[in-house]
């Protein structure tokens, strides 16, 4: 499959390329719009020149091509594959972004700090008495 991939450049319109080539079955995309934005999706089926069906770490649904940003990765999956198959195939690619990460907005890395134990009142009184 001779798929041409052009990396994202600001101001360059990907839509000028042939959409059918970019949005084949198995193409890994990033969802740009909606509440699933920022998560990885895979194209499962083509409906027409504007719409595809997507699945992966997003809700399985119909999606406009304008709401997807294609990446250079292709997966070998069948037409209308189940969500389990798609997720397994997605895990084979090394993806930098976390899977179910509701990232950016509420993302705070956990701190690995040990809890400092407060000294008990009894011990303080005893130490003061010694002094």
């Amino acid at each position: 499959m001779g798929v041409i991939y052009v990396p994202f450049v600001q101001g360059l319109n990907l839509r000028s390329l042939d959409n059918k080539m970019l949005m084949d079955i198995g193409r890994v995309c990033i969802k740009i719009a909606g509440r699933d934005a920022g998560n990885y999706a895979v194209v499962i089926d083509n409906i027409d020149s504007n719409y595809v069906i997507i699945d992966g770490y997003v809700r399985r649904k119909r999606c406009n091509i304008k709401h997807l940003e294609p990446t250079s990765n292709m997966l070998k999956i069948t037409k209308k594959a189940s969500t389990e198959e798609v997720k397994k195939a997605l895990d084979t690619i090394k993806i930098k972004v976390k899977k179910d990460q509701k990232f950016i907005k509420n993302f705070k890395p956990k701190k690995d700090q040990e809890e400092v134990k407060k000294p008990l009142k009894k011990n303080i009184i005893k130490n003061n008495a010694k002094k």
């Binding site: 994202f8 990033i30 740009i32 934005a37 920022g38 990446t71």
Partner: protein, 87 residues
């Protein structure tokens, strides 16, 4: 004696004619400024202009936009931002 808030201009005034035929002034707080996109300074949709005391009683879904960067960036700027984060 009138309450002190009548002097303050942070209260909006509205002349209203009552059913009895009198003219009365109603006082209410002015709405806060419109929220803007932090990148392109466009006005944001989907976030109501309410006083903080009433804003906090709203459900979470009505206070923000459910997209990442929702309530901070407009939809066009957030798309550009998400595309950049791809690499």
């Amino acid at each position: 004696m009138l309450p002190a808030k009548t002097k303050s201009r942070s209260f909006r005034r509205k002349n209203i004619r009552t059913p009895g035929g009198k003219l009365v002034i109603h006082y209410s707080r002015r709405a806060p400024a419109k929220l803007k996109c932090s990148n392109c300074k466009k006005e944001l949709h989907g976030i109501p202009r309410k006083i903080s005391s009433k804003f906090k009683n709203l459900p979470k879904s009505k206070k923000t936009v459910s997209r990442p960067y929702g309530g901070n960036l407009c939809s066009i700027c957030s798309r550009i931002k998400l595309k950049e984060l791809r690499q």
